[in-house]
């Protein structure tokens, strides 16, 4: 599985799905379902919610694949963005979020950071490894603000309120985290290398 296929690959997949090819959607699910589910589980913290988000994301892909533009970004970026928004919407709607900062609950696997566990790493492509490595090298405080923004959907002022840090400190850490990420990643992943 290559989490970062070429734009042509993504365009072909999207075109096939848009034409009503159920097998193409099944292949997309097989390739990216574990990423979508893992992200949904990481955000929602509950298996039931994560499964609903998983369904929602791939149903949306099925219904709107004709609108996917590979020139604007990869299918993975599209799916992760959609998953994150749906998952955050869901936890906000349900008011059932456990300690968001930990991203853990009774029925969720313990995921303590943005980076996958070593065993998961074996399944990742080189591009995904680069992303994981860049995230893992961030200072703890900077990775923390990025986690709170990405997984919990918190704004910088909300992060400051939750952590008790001054807003200026939170802003500085967020911007530093993004700068370090971009410096560590190739252009194909949104970086500057």
């Amino acid at each position: 599985m290559n989490p970062f296929p070429t734009p042509d690959d993504d365009a072909r997949v999207a075109h096939a799905i848009a034409s009503g090819d159920e097998a193409a959607l099944a292949r997309a699910y097989d390739a990216h379902g574990s990423l979508v589910y893992g992200l949904a589980l990481r955000v929602c913290g509950k298996v039931h919610d994560a499964e609903e988000v998983l369904q929602d994301v791939f149903l949306t892909l099925w219904r709107t694949a004709s609108r996917f533009d590979a020139g604007r970004g990869s299918l993975v970026a599209y799916l992760t963005t959609l998953t994150r928004h749906r998952a955050i919407d869901r936890i906000r709607s349900r008011h059932a979020r456990p300690d968001a900062a930990l991203g853990m609950s009774d029925d969720a696997p313990p995921v303590a950071s943005l980076a996958p566990t070593p065993s998961d790493g074996a399944e990742l492509s080189e591009d995904a490894r680069l992303a994981v490595g860049a995230l893992d090298r961030l200072p703890v405080e900077e990775r923390r603000v990025l986690e709170l923004a990405y997984f919990d959907g918190l704004s910088q002022s909300e992060i400051a309120a939750r952590t008790g840090d001054p807003l200026g400190t939170v802003k500085g850490r967020t911007r530093n985290a993004l700068r370090r990420l971009r410096e560590a990643l190739p252009r194909s992943l949104g970086g500057v290398q």
Partner: protein, 257 residues
């Protein structure tokens, strides 16, 4: 402002990390998609996507895959039947020839679609909308992450599978109700859609009836109403009198986050 600064701002916006006026201003610039910004927008979107791609992969239960494939198999005939009607839906490419397992869906799907179309026509007539507009607008609204989405849970069993999704329009005073599947109402009763304003002491407002002859999905665009951001809740009730001003049997509620 340097390109790097623009990418940083766009990334912060896509993360939802900005606050107040700055958030609104950057969001507006993102939405404008000016030609000179497209490169930076793509870089920011890719960077945010890379963050998400770094999470641990977790295999979903096998039943989830089967459920998804069953749902899209059910979805396709519904879309095809609407595309073949007199609506202005953009033509969806014909579905490829189906294996034998699909054929068993055709008759019930066509019957269901006929009932669905009738119910939807009636429902949309109540709200002054059109069939194709509801479908198309739902797709558009869902693609814009800035639009709020609420989940309507079963009023009697909030832990049960959600009944519907309410998708608001951040730019207009309207929302779309997408009911996953609504059972046919008992004889002599009908579904009614309600909104409850955030105003202190506000009473539920009867917005529209949702007449159904059979179990069906419903996509209902509600216009000329309060923006979703101004509402405390949207509800569906079962009523003997569709003009009632007080809900009596609430079956689903979507509350503001």
């Amino acid at each position: 402002m340097s390109r790097d600064s623009v990418i940083e701002l766009f990334t912060l916006s896509l993360l939802g990390a900005l606050d107040g006026e700055e958030a609104a201003a950057v969001r507006a610039r993102l939405d404008a998609r000016r030609p000179e910004d497209l490169d930076a927008i793509t870089a920011a979107e890719t960077l945010v996507g890379s963050i998400g791609a770094g999470v641990a992969r977790v295999s979903a239960p096998p039943a989830a895959r089967e459920r998804l494939l069953a749902r899209i198999a059910h979805d396709a005939p519904e879309v095809r039947s609407r595309a073949g009607s007199a609506s202005a839906l953009p033509p969806r490419p014909a579905a490829p020839s189906r294996p034998a397992r699909r054929t068993r869906w055709i008759v019930p799907a066509l019957l269901g679609a006929a009932f669905f179309a009738l119910a939807l026509f009636n429902a949309l007539r109540d709200t002054g909308s059109t069939m194709d507009t509801a479908e198309q607008q739902l797709s558009r609204l869902l693609l814009d992450p800035s639009n709020p989405r609420w989940i309507a849970n079963d009023a009697k069993d909030p832990a049960a599978k959600p009944i519907a999704t309410v998708v608001g329009d951040a730019k207009q005073r309207r929302f779309i109700l997408a009911v996953d599947k609504l059972a046919a109402p008992p004889k002599g009763k009908a579904y009614v859609l309600w909104t409850i304003s955030k105003e202190p002491g506000a009473q539920p407002k009867n917005v529209a009836s949702i007449p159904l002859a059979s179990e069906a999905k419903v996509i209902l665009e509600v216009t000329d109403t309060a923006a979703l951001a101004d509402l405390a809740a949207v509800a569906i009730s079962l009523e003997s009198d569709v003009r009632t001003t007080t809900p009596t049997d609430v079956i689903a509620v979507a509350k503001a986050p």
